[in-house]
């Protein structure tokens, strides 16, 4: 099926399908969302106004049987950061959109009036329907209600009450293969969807297949690629302990931000660690391994059950557990799981909202460690949209302003996750220079600074950090365009067969002749496109800085401050 651009104009409630312009043909995922946003969105526009556009795109290999290729990119100008934004997620939507031939879905304009809408995507294009039943519902109820209305096989992209309220920490949820949720979490893209009054997007199942130009070569390359992933010991540990295996090692390295970034180690680390979580999951008959999309061979997700052995949450990630755990000093995994479930249902980013809670605790709203208090505020304030709930639901910087707290861990208004930049300098470079505000996934230097993957660079030294972050940010932009899960990078960094197999798959899929250098150049061009958008929106090198307190307050146990000179940071863009 020939790929098309599906366009929805919410101002006049019309839809169209268009051929893919030549300049977008070789792009997918983040490369495509960022290029479309840069091409069509005025950089200075209000993110919640009629000039912003929400762009949804599967990756270049999504919809094929390539292992781990089911990731979806969603882009727009972010209401949280004011920068360009791409949020990446698993779930079933990417593969379903790709099979329908939808290269990208562009939602533009704003409707007049108070009505809400649902978009239905099928092989014939998009239809817009007025929506009443789902309005005000949490994400789990949306998925259950649509399941009854259609069948369990439909794909769903939805916003919760937070998106409807246009809170800047609102995320977009994607249905996973078990009708649970995955999140395009960061940057408040749920608020952009809410501003367009689109409650949810329903994707019709299809038997159609994605075209592969050279099937034999594709199958062979996928075999080599899958083997590289499966053989990698990190993949195996991810399947057992999930990403939460990191709590103990980041704590041991003295880089686990604790008590709103005032310490690098948390006394309760063992209680919230991946090892403890694994034992609880097994004891309560949950699943330590779980895939967020069909074809994932790493399976870092899990099913975490409550004490009654009933489903509580999945995709229970290290960064969310750190934020609600160490950063808020909550050492009870059940409280953290309940908060995670609530945030998924309300539709807020579990990193942004939890870091906001840490700032609010410093502001005196709750005692540090009060996990039940956090859940109560999520239920009674954030979900219901009380003034306090809206302040928290607009993120850490919003809370800092409202409560007069100056220790606010954000870059470009987006909360810093899970790795203290004073104790892992490479991450500080990534947080400061990323085109999308503080985001660990943009250039995950933890691999080389802490885990010994792709070489080894001392986390406390200034040397080599800019180059490390730059190389990883370039590689990440390219991987985010393929539809691949970022965790293929662990194999790609240390197994020489992995990356060539990935390039071979792209070539076999499209009949192309790309080299590894072409893939690197794609990453470079994406970063430059995103940077140019931000500059046109008014950002300068002065925005590529960490908050003041990192320069002034040493963090234990290493008693280090952020000491990379500003001029070094500015060299990041010398490429």
């Amino acid at each position: 099926m020939a790929e098309k651009i599906y366009r929805v104009n919410m101002t006049n409630l019309t839809t169209s399908t268009e051929p893919v312009p030549d300049k977008w043909l070789g792009l997918g995922g983040r490369g495509l969302t960022s290029t479309i946003v840069a091409d069509e969105v005025e950089p200075t526009c209000h993110p919640l106004g009629g000039k912003n556009k929400l762009v949804v795109a599967p990756g270049l290999l999504s919809g094929t049987v390539a292992a781990n290729s089911g990731r979806l990119s969603i882009g727009a100008k972010s209401p949280l950061t004011g920068t360009i934004k791409e949020a990446n997620s698993g779930g079933t939507a990417a593969q379903m959109l790709a099979k329908l031939g939808c290269k990208a879905l562009i939602i533009e304009g704003l409707p007049e009036g108070d009505a809400w809408y649902t978009l239905l995507i099928s092989k014939d294009g998009v239809t817009i329907q007025e929506e009443q039943e789902l309005v005000g519902k949490g994400n789990f109820d949306v998925v259950a209600t649509i399941g009854k209305r259609t069948d369990e096989k439909h794909g769903i992209i939805t916003i919760g009450p937070a998106g409807e309220m246009k809170l800047s920490a609102a995320n977009i949820s994607i249905k996973d293969p078990d009708s649970h949720l995955r999140s395009s979490g960061r940057g408040g893209l749920g608020a952009v969807m809410g501003s367009k009054r689109v409650k949810c997007i329903i994707i019709e199942p299809t038997d159609a297949k994605v075209e592969i130009v050279d099937q034999e070569k594709f199958t062979e390359a996928n075999r080599a690629f899958t083997k590289a992933l499966v053989d990698n010991p990190i993949s195996q540990a991810l399947g057992t302990y999930g990403t939460n295996v990191l709590v103990n090692i980041i704590n041991e390295a003295g880089a686990l931000p604790t008590r709103n970034f005032t310490n690098g180690q948390f006394d309760g680390h063992e209680e919230i660690s991946g090892e403890t979580m694994h034992d609880i999951i097994v004891e309560r008959e949950g699943k330590p391994k779980h895939n967020c999309h069909k074809g994932c061979v790493i399976q870092c997700s899990q099913i975490y059950n409550d004490k009654e052995k009933k489903y509580k949450t999945s995709g229970f990630e290290y960064e969310s557990i750190w934020a609600m755990g160490a950063d808020c000093c909550v050492d009870n995994l059940d409280h953290i799981a309940e908060a995670d479930h609530l945030m998924d249902d309300i539709g807020v980013d579990s990193i942004e909202t939890s870091v906001a809670m840490g700032v609010a605790m410093e502001g005196g709203l709750l005692e540090f460690g009060d996990g039940e208090g956090i859940c109560r505020i999520l239920r009674e304030d954030v979900a219901k949209g009380t003034p306090l709930g809206r302040i928290i639901g607009c993120g850490a910087a919003s809370v800092g302003r409202a409560f007069g707290v100056t220790r606010v861990p954000v870059v470009k208004n987006q909360a810093i996750p899970a790795y203290d930049p004073r104790a892992v300098k490479g991450m500080g470079i990534t947080y400061a220079t990323s085109t999308q505000g503080a985001d660990h996934t943009m250039g995950y230097t933890i691999a080389t600074n802490i885990l010994g993957v792709g070489g080894s660079i001392d986390p406390l030294s200034q040397d080599g950090q800019v180059e490390l972050s730059r190389n990883l940010q370039i590689a990440t932009a390219a991987i985010d365009s393929t539809g691949m899960c970022l965790f293929i990078a662990f194999a790609a960094l240390d197994d020489e067969k992995c990356l060539p197999a990935l390039v071979d798959m792209i070539n076999a899929r499209f009949g192309a002749d790309l080299t590894a250098d072409d893939v690197t150049n794609l990453g470079i061009s994406i970063l430059k496109t995103e940077r140019a958008f931000n500059e046109a929106a008014g950002f300068t090198n002065k925005d590529d800085r960490l908050p003041e307190f990192f320069y002034e307050e040493p963090i234990a146990p290493h008693n280090v401050v952020w000491d990379i000179p500003d001029e070094e940071l500015d060299k990041f863009w010398d490429f």
């Binding site: 010991p233 991810l238 295996v245 990191l246 041991e252 885990l451 010994g452």
Partner: protein, 79 residues
């Protein structure tokens, strides 16, 4: 403990804990390397991803001193 011996805290993580321990005070000859400690624990050094002494990365050839904390991790990742 003689002057030729050191007492250090050994911490194990992830599946290295299976049939072993989370954390233990152990006594070793003063000249012992990290690699030798790993071998004494019955862990294959090939399976070791990261080692830290007092929260700083160390090599397998390093020699801990009295009172050190040695953390031993398998090859792990996340993010």
């Amino acid at each position: 403990m003689s002057t030729n011996e050191i007492s250090i805290t050994v911490k194990l993580f992830a599946f290295f804990r299976e049939n072993r321990f989370k954390q233990q005070e152990q006594t070793f000859p003063a000249t012992i390397t990290v690699r030798e400690i790993i071998q004494r624990l019955g862990i294959d050094p090939e399976e070791v991803g990261v080692t830290m002494i007092n929260s700083r990365h160390c090599t397998l050839d390093q020699t801990p001193v009295q009172g050190d904390q040695l953390a031993i991790f398998p090859v792990i990742g996340g993010g």
